[in-house]
Symmetry: C2
Subunit: 416 residues, 2 copies
């Protein structure tokens, strides 16, 4: 592609283009960071107003029933389910991804222990998002029964690391840094062939790529709603447990929302039958309610259409960077093969931090990840082909003019 007009032509032909208008995006911003925080659906502001001025202010305590607040985790879970290949009543939207991982990893270890108490290893990747590793470490320390976290440095070592001592393989489907995507079905088969359980983290998958948890035979999964699902900053995460495993175990965060009859106020915990037992405490309703605004946009399309555009956007971005920035030390670390790529493209640059700050200063918002990584997410609900074109032009100019060398771009603040 040699002209911005060609990108504009792609937008005109794009069947998803009308969805762009359902999001609140400043016209001077090119946002390639929906993999970190999704853009606000326009519906979110009015929905928040309804919840605050109507349900809370007027409905008051009655709204727990009349506005369906108490039912939100399961109802939103059912709305999210089709995006990840889950059945109805297999997903709850609740808590944070870290907390949900603690729950499902605890349940998985209990189940693995029942099946074969010799298995004491959790296998994961050192490149996994840190909170997953931290949660596993916290759980292992708490259990204090000889569990170990075995981390592989390279994906090629993963299959051989999963062996007769493995209780659980805890795998993130799409790597947050590189965008590399596992073959969920194949890796789940490998995990099961070794007699272990498969816990999947879908933080960078849900709403980003087609996911078929049941088709893959996965055992447990968690994910978040504030990235590709556009649920709002820090919006509640989700947990998935297939029907066949829901009642196999309890989980330790046994708060009253997971009780079979919470309003009997019994002093004895009795876990709910089904996915409800993966709930814990009272949920932040306003943040929770807005998750629905993000999910509702997905009802107007499907993951196959989104995936097609996502790959077209990332292919275009990679091709343009490699042609228009060919003289600069950028190295693609995202797999080129479609089957191995999530919905992002990451490049290493020796001054990645400064280059990203210079991009952001010009309104092209991606993000930086240690070490030296420029990360760009593609969110086909609202990212346009011209955005890709303009972003690369801006990057090329920043590199050609060495604008990133300005002192203000070297200052390290807190980064997210």
């Amino acid at each position: 592609m040699n002209l911005r007009d060609e990108a504009a032509a792609l937008d005109r032909e794009d069947p998803l283009a009308p969805l762009h208008d359902q999001f609140s995006l400043a016209s001077d911003t090119i946002y390639l960071d929906g993999n970190s925080l999704g853009v606000a659906p326009k519906a979110a502001a009015s929905r928040a107003s309804e919840v605050i001025s109507g349900e809370w202010s007027q409905g008051l305590i009655r709204s727990w029933n009349t506005a369906g607040w108490f039912a939100l985790p399961k109802r939103l879970g059912n709305k999210l389910a089709p995006l990840i290949g889950a059945e109805q009543d297999e997903v709850v939207v609740t808590d944070s991804i870290s907390t949900n991982l603690f729950k499902v990893l605890s349940a998985a270890l209990r189940l693995a222990n029942e099946r074969d108490p010799k298995r004491r290893v959790i296998v994961s990747e050192r490149s996994n998002f840190p909170t997953d590793l931290y949660i596993a470490q916290g759980l292992i320390e708490q259990l204090d029964r000889g569990y170990q976290l075995r981390l592989v440095d390279n994906v090629s070592e993963l299959a051989s690391a999963i062996d007769e001592n493995t209780a659980v393989a805890m795998i993130t489907h799409v790597n947050y840094r590189t965008g590399a995507m596992h073959d969920m079905a194949a890796l789940t088969r490998t995990i099961h062939a070794a007699g272990a359980l498969a816990v999947w983290d879908l933080a960078h998958s849900a709403g980003a790529v087609p996911v078929d948890l049941n088709g893959a035979g996965a055992d447990y999964a968690v994910g978040c709603t504030y990235k590709y699902l556009n649920g709002g900053p820090g919006s509640p995460a989700f947990a998935w447990v297939p029907k066949r495993l829901q009642n196999a175990c309890t989980q330790p965060l046994s708060g009253w929302w997971g009780h079979k009859k919470p309003f009997e106020m019994s002093p004895e915990y009795r876990p709910d039958d089904g996915i409800g037992r993966f709930l814990c405490g009272t949920q932040p309703i306003i943040s929770m309610a807005l998750v629905e605004c993000g999910l509702d946009v997905f009802l107007q399309t499907n993951m196959a259409a989104l995936r097609q555009k996502s790959l077209a956007l990332s292919d275009l971005f990679i091709a343009l960077v490699e042609s228009r920035c060919a003289n600069f030390p950028l190295r693609l670390i995202t797999p080129r093969a479609h089957a191995e790529r999530g919905s992002q493209a990451s490049f290493e640059h020796p001054h990645g931090y400064e280059v990203m700050q210079a991009l952001i200063a010009r309104g092209v918002i991606g993000d930086y990840r240690e070490p030296r990584i420029l990360r760009f997410g593609f969110t086909p609900l609202y990212t346009r082909y011209v955005d890709v074109w303009d972003a690369v032009e801006t990057l090329a100019d920043i590199l050609a003019t060495e604008a990133w060398r300005a002192p203000e771009f070297a200052e390290r603040g807190a980064v997210t």
Copy 2:
């Protein structure tokens, strides 16, 4: 008091009366359920609009830093601290009360184990709010090291139940059902004299009664922000750990927000120094931000003034019920002694459920708790003396006319 005018005169003389206007309350509603869900501060709607249309929609990912989202748990914790006798940097607003209890109870058991590994008993009251008992049960089951939950049926048995085998006494300061309040300082002394640690639940205390955690020498505490603190439905809860114990132990929900350097993205968990290590995962920012609207109202008054009015309101309510409903089988189960009473009054009635439904149908909103309990909360920021008068008049009329016998009031829906 024999006339509504006398109540109106009390309102005219009430220095807290102007605060009523800072809340969104329908004029046809008398709300005596702020102990379950606080009323919306008027500021909440505009703050939500700022967060959604400004910080999220315009600021996007930058708002984690520029709008201070990442700092909210500690900043709001510092704002809440004076209300509970906490120092700065001793409180985080985060997660649910159930999840926070899991954290602090885990930390308390670790510390108790270091001090004396023979202690394997958690003491609590059978009448405690169920989720506290459920969380203790879940933790005990997970630890699987012989811990027991010892529940006393009567408060008079509590001191003798705390003995040389007790690791932790897990006590709720104000009972959710009866409104009975413990003497925190005295009971903490008893707990410490037995060599145990004191974990306090402030769900019905924070913003309701003066609390002095440090003055009482308490060890850990949790509480919620959606009751008397008016933070919004299910708004994030809080955890308090005094400086002297913060670094004594880690807690098992070791998510990335509790890491010393979360953005180094290290695969090894290193707990933050201080209260930060009691954070876990990414927080629901919109619900979190609104907690501040509730806290800001408290900056305009103080707990001593609020306590004085709270007791005046509940004294008046009790006196009016006992005089104007004397012919009906209502029995006060809330202590009459001020020092033993929280900010509510609860009455048993053989048809408590139906009576409460009839009250709600007439715009007097209290709530019902098993078994047979009518529960009325008094929230001096927005409850007026005339509200108390009108509520009792409505109750008297419902009892006198037996309006509660209408069939629609017998239907049991989901209750909260």
